[in-house]
Symmetry: C2
Subunit: 399 residues, 2 copies
Amino acid sequence: MTWLDLEADDPFGVHNLPYGVFSTDGTGPRPGVRVGDFVLDMAVLEDPSCTGPSLNRLLAAGPKHAASVRERLQELLTDPAHRGRAEPRLYRLADVTLHLPIEIGDYVDFYASEHHARNVGRIFRPGADPLTPNWTHLPIGYHGRSGSVVLSGTDVVRPRGQRRDPDAQGPVFGPSTRLDIEAEVGFVVGAGSVLGRPVPVDEAEQHLFGVCLVNDWSARDLQAWEYVPLGPFLGKSFATSISPWIVPFVALEAARLDPPARHHPTLPYLTDRPGGALDLRLETRWNGHLVATPPAAALYWTPAQMLAHLTVNGAAIRPGDLFASGTVSGPGSDELGSFLELTEDGRRPVTFPDGRTRTFLEDGDEVVISATAAGPGGTVVGLGEVTGRILPAPAPTNP
Amino acid sequence: MTWLDLEADDPFGVHNLPYGVFSTDGTGPRPGVRVGDFVLDMAVLEDPSCTGPSLNRLLAAGPKHAASVRERLQELLTDPAHRGRAEPRLYRLADVTLHLPIEIGDYVDFYASEHHARNVGRIFRPGADPLTPNWTHLPIGYHGRSGSVVLSGTDVVRPRGQRRDPDAQGPVFGPSTRLDIEAEVGFVVGAGSVLGRPVPVDEAEQHLFGVCLVNDWSARDLQAWEYVPLGPFLGKSFATSISPWIVPFVALEAARLDPPARHHPTLPYLTDRPGGALDLRLETRWNGHLVATPPAAALYWTPAQMLAHLTVNGAAIRPGDLFASGTVSGPGSDELGSFLELTEDGRRPVTFPDGRTRTFLEDGDEVVISATAAGPGGTVVGLGEVTGRILPAPAPTNP
């Protein structure tokens, strides 16, 4: 029990303790840990790994050191003897400014939900097998734009670009008319690896630091026109929002479960241990209305498999690298992680309780993706939320 | 004329002055400028933008400041009055260690050569139109792995991964059997931009700092199996080598020329001014033998168009971002920038003068890509070279 005034069922109790970066008036961004609705300045630990404008020093310090930091934080927050030391370093969440918690080297987006891949395949490649032949053999992924990763709460400017309308011969240019979300789980790399030396699936956990929520905003019209043959580019690279709090993997032990049954055995380098999946329950709210509950438990590929695949060719990982699951969709019609799927490619609008309808995002719309997971001893682990509001496209300066 | 003992036709005379990062015994990496076979320590300028372990501060300082730095360097190296100040800061190239010159945020690889796109389309998608319908409307590109960008001279470990052999049902795992090069031109971003605000083609030059050479090593077997539908991933992300010297765009004014005639007008946001292309002549040497002379003048899309496209959706650029042309191939059979094209998909081996033959890269092979361009007043501008040697794949640790 903590000496803080916290409800026993607070999803940000000492069983969770996610890391972020915050500042207060007149001070610079620095690492903090969330407990309840407070942020504890990690400067209290007087540990060099807990300094700097991001969590990257802590990430680079490796899993043993991170475990020791977490242990010291739990002790600080539970042993009343430390109250006098910690309390002056506690800030109300409402009184601080949050910042992007990590300096991201490379950002990779996977495509790990079979339900999502099938749904999108049907829409983008009608008449063909929705799953490409490689899908069940490897976690398909591609590199996204790390410079476009923004903190939850950052407004998203509607992108402009080329699209080709149905039956049109050539493309037109303008604001995206099919602006979408992707509800995803993000995985933050801790300790790095060496170029030319793959990280086997059994060692992946030594490099997996924590989990956040990701909204990989997507302009479906731009994407559809550009993505053959080299993959998504401008349809994705305008903005990717992440939640401010990185929940350490060790706080999610109670949420581990086996991934769905595989269609066939994987190649040996992808064989993972039982319990490699995470039972995170996502919720998507569109202008305040709950429209979907995507289940991360339905992802076909596990984080350890994704990391083993990403590095099997010798690619190195760096502390602060981010990789995401791709859209989390479950089998149910209320479990879909994108509006493309939820509205059946815009053919079945979503109706809000006030009678307004939506297919894709309109200017001013706000989307909130949140998630929770089971914690130890019947507790709940909160992953917080990732939010964003759509601003209109800029006026053309070069029409 | 410089007071240095330099031939008048030295491709690294004071008309060039490319930037790099070097260190000497017992000192840390720092910016330097190449003149002849010497490196001048830019600390001589006592300018904060010329300090640090990379060129990123100079890049971030913007084009006006970079012009002033170049002017001061040219003065130092031509006015004998400055000789006493500069000479103690000059090192022989052979006596220094070179380092990766830039801290790369995002790395984007384009597909700007029509000849290359047609050749690859024929090989990867037999029976279909080699150019996808979007190709002539936009510079197709995708994000590569910035963490895998290495300095010229770094050994390249043969990647392992999944491939599907012809007529096989499923994939096998092992070292790549079709390891290839891509001879490319890289463009280094100087001043950054703001998320949500595109950089119009007319302003692109304010953000384009310099040019380097790129070898985007490619495992064709991995790539062919993985790239549908989200693009190349592990087939590319194991290594991308760049040359050590960033030649500023201003040193390449005499190499500017008009791009090839377009098949049809572009959308207005891609309309560029005349003289937007660069006449760089590349040379590819395979184990010492000249096997191709890819002409950058044949690229369909210009650097300014690539940058305008990359940002038109609002994506921000950061100092040190790198984007590359994609494989440079010309119309001639001796102008092809990849071995995939040069050997007609492995069907027509290259024969070296000693009788040995090659289709794709074998362990121990070395590739050197170099380039020159016309400089002012009949001079030649050297771009140096990007080299790499293939090491065998690692022994399987997780068979």
